[in-house]
């Protein structure tokens, strides 16, 4: 089982339970072989005391001749030498012989046994036929056995067994053998149980005594180990191991208690100073020397531990649990170190290291001894611990003995080495001839620097390999680190750095601050020695900013940088470029103005707050931000559309949730501190490429905004990546934001820049670069993207009314706003306003112009001067720099056009025709509007700007012609449609052609009146004339008004023109209703007589002649009239013909009466049915249709009707018109064919109806008793 070169001899395996044999030796020897062979053959179940699980065991025995010495003396507890069974052999078969010799012999034997109070004995009687043959007188053989049984085995007959023909190969002999063996086994086991039980009891009692003063652990150790031996002997390794573990635990407990204060005096023997530290020895099953030491209480702690472990190890290997060995070994070693400390054992420096080193290797070799390569490799997770431990120890030894310094060991180192080696003593014989023995290794390693290096490297590489193999990368790196430290000590930074960098990576990746800081320091050391200036500076920058270092250290590293920066660059002028984020962090960046959109040449400040990570103030020669300029199409468009650039900036703004022009930068974790747990999120945005011609989509794509963050390697998050020179080199033509001589204090600093804004476009901040002497700290990407816009703007003029409705007729204020844009208003610049004379510009003195800056704060206030000719007003502007705005107010007044507004005719003074959609004439408020237009010539452009202003006319006027008989009245209704209240006064009505014969007599109040909003005032005039009434009247109504709330009431006139035709009354109409003959009153249902009399009042003027188309009939001419009686309220039933034609003689007071029958349908005071009179024109009469209205016939009588009625369209007239129309319509049909007479209505007031509104009382008819009351 041991493929190892020096195969350890295992004594205990030879040990077997002793069985003594008395009696016939010859017989026994003849049987010995078969006996020893057959005994172990079959297992036997061993039932054990204390409820321990029964076990099947194969028994073996060591048969020895019985001697009295073998029997244990009193108090001797040695178990190994204890005879468990005594057998007496005999084959005597005749009584004589028995009596003669055998009996006495047995008696003697028994007495001896009894003397030593052993009861485990057996008598075997062997029978064979051979003997029987040559015996003549044969007693039944049973008799002998019986005798023996009688003589000895009183009441335990089983103590005597027969073994028949043992040497024969017969079934009979077989049986007897097996029965014998079984018996033998049983007895053996019984004996074990008994004796071991007794032993264990004694052992326990002994252990209980351990608190007593005299008690010694070593003695107890010996006792329990005895038990272990026995179990081992019985190949019960588990049980054996348990014994040792118990001892181990017991001892450990004592040591701990000692540490806790109560030391057992026996422990003192273990506290003696350490003298020898030769490691574990696992190659012997039992290290007798150490056992001796323990036995005599001279063992040191290490001795005891070593011995104990070697035993455990042996057993474990028997149990095929080698990996437990390694594990226990490691624990043991650690434990020993602890215990030595605890017991305050004085240990020469390095001694323990030697011991551990040796032990580790010993264990490893022992394990290698009992497993093959494959197993080993599969289980290096178990062994690697030992390897590393050994490595560490060797390393510390090395440094102790001055073997890792650059210049070898000095004398005292050597002395120390010698002492250490002395402590190893001589090499053990077992390993004497193995070249690789731990002992040799250690000796060699300590012999010379080179040897040490060789061994050390060997070990640590082995350890690292194993760690890598089982994927314990961190552990591997840790070993690597200590290796690096070794190299540093050896003054070989080249090698060291690789290891350090590797482990640094992992610490960074996993954000372990302290290790990072520490490792960095070592790296810095390397780089310094290697003269890697840039790297060294970068690292020291990182270190200087690392808060995990002491202030001293940080200052030191910062100083390193500064002193380098201070050196005058000799030779290479190239500045050293370092990454900024170790040095300082860009925290936030603020634009003033916040919009980050300014016009060309405007001042744009941006303040960036930079957090310096240096422990001391640092003076920067220059801090510069490189800016990328792109002429971005939206640039010229100005604030109106900041274009894509603004879009991006906006997006960034959102990202930082700061509308106020500040861009916050994500807290780039200071190097060395924990990296951000989240990797930066993708920031994608879409791009679309549309073809310029039609907006068709050519291609669409997704662009990642923060590639430089995402594609950065994880481990370089606290970057050692110095930006490539291209990234640093400021692009050609890129502008720079610069400040000089900034001193960065530790913590936050705010630095102010003024951003260039020479030409319009988008400026993107690219890099931040701080220069300290020869060093440049560069932030390669400013992210999130920061942009600002510069735009240029055309000057603009806008005019807006101050009130929401400009009222015509009143002076109104209008605001002029000039946004200068890139134009600057020079001396003598003026606005030329040319306006229609309907809207003069009131040159009010003391009109003030305010000049505002782009962020609308008042810059200047000047009173403007205005020269105004009748057509042109020129306003001289105040001086204003570009991108300012000039505001001033002018008063304009729009004259109210007389008469209904007919704006088509309007023309501007500069001759531009001015058309307006008719629909706009009436606004929702019912106010009619006047649009006025000013054309303004601005100094900055050759074209004149047209500005339209809409004025609302506050009033509406209606007129009405009233007549009673011949007398005529004109009523004018003035309605205030505005929202203001007005005072109105001296209303007047004038006639155009001032004929002396006619005058208008006012019937109005003189006093001025208040007209509230949406209210009306009525005025009335009587028309008087002397000679004859005029055919038509051209009237002009005028009234003065002023706002009711005006402090000084300036009255403005309001004119209203209108015309009245056919004023004079031609006919007077009267009706009378007579009750039926013989009745006093009219009654419903009974016919009444209606008499209509038409009287011509005056000779018709010849124009009227024309109109009515008189006809010569007999001597004198008449005109034909048509009358019609209609009753719309259906109070009356007109019986017979309701209409007819009468011909009136053309003479004053010519009268014509018409009678007809009407029947009242209701009772009560009924109004008369309405009676109409129309002109009846014969066919030959000339049409009075004016030629200009291109004879669309069905319209014409309406148009005629409309004349003058336009505004006074009261319902009745409309009704009448309707009826007329229908009639007229009818008449046309014929007119198309042969010429037919036509009907024409009379003008208002031409026919006066006296009985208008008369009523007649109608009584209900007799027969019905229901009085119907008509409520019309």
């Amino acid at each position: 089982m041991e493929p190892h070169e020096e195969k350890p001899i295992i004594y205990t395996m030879e040990n077997k339970p002793i069985v003594t044999c008395a009696g016939d030796q010859a017989l026994f020897t003849s049987l010995y072989n078969s006996l020893t062979q057959q005994l172990p053959r079959e297992p036997m179940e061993w039932r054990r005391s204390y409820g321990r699980a029964p076990k099947m065991i194969h028994l073996e025995a060591n048969f020895v001749q019985f001697k009295e010495e073998l029997l244990p003396k009193e108090g001797n507890r040695a178990l190994l030498t204890f005879p468990f069974l005594h057998i007496y052999w005999t084959d005597c078969c005749d009584t004589e012989v028995y009596k003669a010799s055998v009996k006495e012999d047995i008696v003697r034997w028994q007495s001896l046994l009894r003397l030593h109070s052993t009861t485990d004995w057996l008598i075997v009687v062997v029978e064979s036929d051979t003997k029987k043959k040559n015996k003549t007188n044969i007693l039944p053989r049973t008799s002998i056995v019986d005798k023996i049984r009688n003589d000895f085995c009183n009441k335990q007959s089983d103590r005597c067994v027969i073994l028949s023909d043992p040497l024969k190969d017969s079934s009979r002999s077989q049986e007897s053998w097996s029965s014998f063996l079984t018996k033998l086994r049983t007895l053996l086991l019984m004996s074990f149980t008994k004796n071991l039980g007794r032993f264990e009891d004694d052992m326990r009692t002994l252990r209980e005594k351990r608190t007593e003063p005299g008690w010694s652990f070593c003695d107890y150790f010996m006792v329990q180990e005895e038990l272990a031996f026995v179990f081992e002997m019985l190949q019960q390794f588990e049980d054996a191991l348990v014994q040792y573990d118990e001892l181990d635990a017991l001892f450990t407990q004592y040591v701990l208690n000692f540490g806790a204060g109560d030391g057992a005096n026996w422990l003192c023997s273990f506290c003696q100073p350490l003298r020898s530290w030769n490691g574990l020895l696992l190659r012997r099953p039992i290290d007798m020397e150490k056992r001796e030491l323990i036995q005599h209480g001279q063992a040191s702690l290490l001795d005891l531990r070593s011995y104990l472990f070697s035993r455990q190890c042996t057993l474990l290997i028997f149990l095929l649990r080698p990996w437990e060995v390694t594990q226990r070994a490691l624990e043991l070693l650690h434990n020993c170190v602890q215990e030595l400390r605890l017991l305050e054992v004085s240990v020469p420096p390095g001694a323990l290291d030697c011991w551990v080193f040796l032990s580790c290797l010993e264990v490893l070799q022992r394990i290698e001894g009992c497993c093959d390569r494959a197993q080993l490799e599969a289980n290096c997770s178990h062994t690697v611990g030992l390897w590393t431990y050994a490595t560490e120890k060797l390393k510390s030894l090395g440094s102790l003995c001055g073997l890792v310094s650059e210049n070898g060991p000095n004398s005292e180192d050597l002395n120390r080495t010698v002492d250490l080696l002395a402590g190893l003593g001589a090499e053990r014989p077992e390993t004497a001839n193995s070249l690789q023995s731990p002992y040799k290794k250690l000796k060699e390693a300590l012999s010379s620097v080179e040897a040490f290096e060789k061994h050390y490297l060997e070990l640590s590489h082995a350890a690292m390999e194993m760690y890598r193999a089982i994927g314990r990368m961190r552990s591997a790196r840790l070993v690597g680190k200590s290796l690096a430290e070794f190299y540093m000590r050896k003054g070989d930074p080249q090698r060291a750095e690789a290891f350090l960098q590797e482990s640094l990576k992992s610490y960074l990746a996993e954000g372990w601050a302290l290790p990072v800081a520490h490792t960095r320091k070592q790296i810095a050391e390397c780089q310094k020695q290697l003269g890697q200036t840039d790297e060294y500076l970068q690292t020291s920058a990182l270190l200087a900013s690392d808060t995990h270092l002491t202030d001293m250290e940080r200052k030191h590293f910062c100083q390193e940088i500064l002193s380098f920066a201070g050196q005058t660059a000799e030779g290479h002028a190239q500045k050293v470029v370092l990454s900024m984020n170790a040095f300082a962090q860009l925290r936030q960046l603020q634009f003033r103005p916040a919009t980050a959109v300014v016009h060309v040449g405007a001042a744009l400040e941006l303040e960036l707050s930079l957090r310096s990570l240096m422990p001391v103030p640092v003076r920067l020669e220059q801090l510069a931000v490189s800016v990328h300029f792109s002429l971005e199409k939206g640039g010229a468009r100005g604030r109106a559309g900041p274009g894509g650039g603004a879009g991006n900036r906006g997006r960034v703004g959102q990202g930082q949730g700061s509308p106020c022009g500040t861009v916050l930068f994500p807290g780039e974790s200071p190097p060395g501190a924990l990296p951000r747990s989240q990797p930066p999120a993708l920031e994608l945005y879409e791009i679309q490429d549309r073809s310029p011609s039609d907006g068709a989509l050519n291609s669409a794509g997704v662009v990642c905004k923060n590639v430089h963050l995402l594609l950065r390697r994880q481990d370089s998050s606290a970057s050692l990546d110095t930006p490539s020179s291209t990234a640093v080199a400021v692009e050609d033509g890129a502008q720079l934001l610069k400040t000089h001589d900034v001193s960065l204090l530790p913590g936050n600093n705010n630095i102010l820049f003024t951003a260039p804004s020479r030409e319009p476009g988008t400026y993107t901040l690219r890099q931040l670069c701080a220069t300290v002497g020869r060093i440049q700290f560069v932030l390669p990407h400013i992210y999130p993207i920061v942009q600002y816009e510069v735009y240029s703007q055309e000057p603009q003029l806008s005019v807006e009314p101050l009130a929401d409705n400009l009222l015509a007729g009143l002076p109104q204020r209008v605001k002029f706003i000039i946004v200068t844009g890139h134009y600057s208003i020079k001396r003598g610049d003026a606005l030329q306003l040319s306006n229609s004379d309907a809207m003069p510009i009131l040159s009010s003195s003391g009109c003030v112009a305010r000049v505002l800056s782009s962020d609308s704060e008042l810059v200047a206030e000047t009173t403007l001067s205005m020269q105004s000719s009748e057509k042109v007003t020129s306003v001289s502007l105040p001086l204003a720099p570009p991108y300012h705005s000039v505001e001033f107010q002018l008063e304009v007044q729009c004259h109210i056009p007389a008469g209904p507004v007919r704006p088509e005719s309007e023309r501007l003074t500069n001759g531009e025709p001015w058309h307006r959609a008719r629909s706009r004439q009436r606004t929702s408020s019912g106010m009619s509007v006047v649009d006025q237009k000013i054309s303004i010539d601005c100094p900055w452009s050759i074209y004149s700007t047209l500005v339209a202003l809409t004025f609302y006319i506050p009033f509406k006027a209606k007129h009405l012609l009233l007549s009673s008989g011949k007398r005529k009245y004109i009523q004018v209704c003035l309605q205030n449609v505005s929202d203001m209240n007005f005072h109105v006064s001296d209303q007047q009505l004038a006639e155009r052609q001032q004929s002396s014969s006619l005058w208008l007599q006012s019937l109005n109040a003189k006093a001025k009146q208040l007209v509230h909003s949406k209210q009306s005032v009525f005025c009335l005039w009587e028309v008087k004339w002397t000679c004859e009434p005029p055919a038509s009247l051209q009237c002009v109504f005028s009234i003065n008004f002023c706002p009711a709330d005006a402090q000084r009431s300036v009255f403005t006139p309001y004119y209203y023109e209108f015309q009245l035709d056919n004023v004079s009354t031609l006919y007077s109409l009267s009706a009378d209703i007579q009750p039926a003959p013989g009745e006093q009153q009219c009654r419903t249902g009974t016919l009444c007589g209606l008499e209509v009399s038409i009287v011509r009042l005056a000779e018709p003027s010849d124009s009227e002649q024309q109109d009515e188309g008189p006809v010569e009939t007999g001597g004198f001419c008449t005109t034909k009239l048509m009358y019609e009686v209609v009753d719309n309220s259906s109070n009356w039933a007109v019986c017979g013909k309701s209409s007819g034609i009468v011909s009136m003689p053309v003479a004053a007071n010519a009268t014509h009466k018409v009678r007809m029958e009407v029947m009242p349908l209701f009772a009560g005071h009924l109004p008369f049915p309405s009676i109409k009179v129309l002109k009846y024109l014969p066919h030959n009469a000339p049409s009075t249709i004016p030629p200009d209205t291109d004879g669309c016939v069905e319209n014409d009588n309406i148009s005629l009707l409309d004349k003058g009625l336009d505004d006074q369209a009261d319902t009745s007239s409309i009704r009448s018109r309707g009826s007329v129309h229908s009639l007229g319509g009818g008449s046309e049909q014929q007119q198309r064919g042969l010429p037919m007479p036509r009907l024409e209505p009379f003008g208002p007031g031409q026919v006066f109806n006296r009985s208008q509104g008369c009523q007649v009382l109608v009584l209900p008819s007799k027969d019905d008793h229901v009085l119907e009351v008509n409520l019309t």
Partner: protein, 147 residues
């Protein structure tokens, strides 16, 4: 003297790549603090080993206690990993024998509980270093009582 480092997580920042940022490190101030950090960091190896072993062998998933990760000459390092792969590591000076396995186990439970509370604090965003005073005081009390 007793040293503990609590809250030593796998933050499953993104499922594919686990990271090992320490959420919380606490140790009795001493000159060998750096050494603790190294020790604990290295112990992650073993934790990962054990966790992956758990993955393979079907063991009781509810057993979060990983037991003694490994002994070193000066420390005993114990591990505990939640099912969300948050790792706790306690390092005890090896001379400290008062702590049996059960004590350690219960200490881990305590840690785990108050860590859960920390996670439930709406103001704490997962992944950040733990600054909770409650957690702090809990840990210190634990450290005191085990000294």
């Amino acid at each position: 003297m007793m040293t503990m480092l609590g809250g030593e997580p796998f933050l499953l920042v993104s499922k594919q790549e686990q990271q090992n940022y320490p959420l919380y490190i606490r140790s009795v101030p001493s000159d060998s603090e750096l050494k603790f950090h190294y020790t604990v960091h290295t112990s992650l190896d073993v934790v990962e080993e054990k966790v992956s072993a758990v993955g393979k062998v079907i063991v009781d998933q509810r057993e979060l206690y990983l037991g003694l990760l490994y002994p070193t000459e000066d420390y005993k390092v114990y591990g505990y990993v939640t099912n969300s792969k948050v790792k706790f590591v306690i390092v005890v000076d090896s001379s400290n024998t008062s702590l049996r396995d059960n004590e350690i186990r219960s200490m881990f439970r305590k840690l785990h509980n108050s860590f859960t509370d920390v996670m439930c604090n709406p103001f704490y965003n997962p992944g950040d270093p733990i600054q909770s005073k409650v957690f702090d005081s809990m840990v210190s009390s634990m450290m005191v009582q085990t000294c």
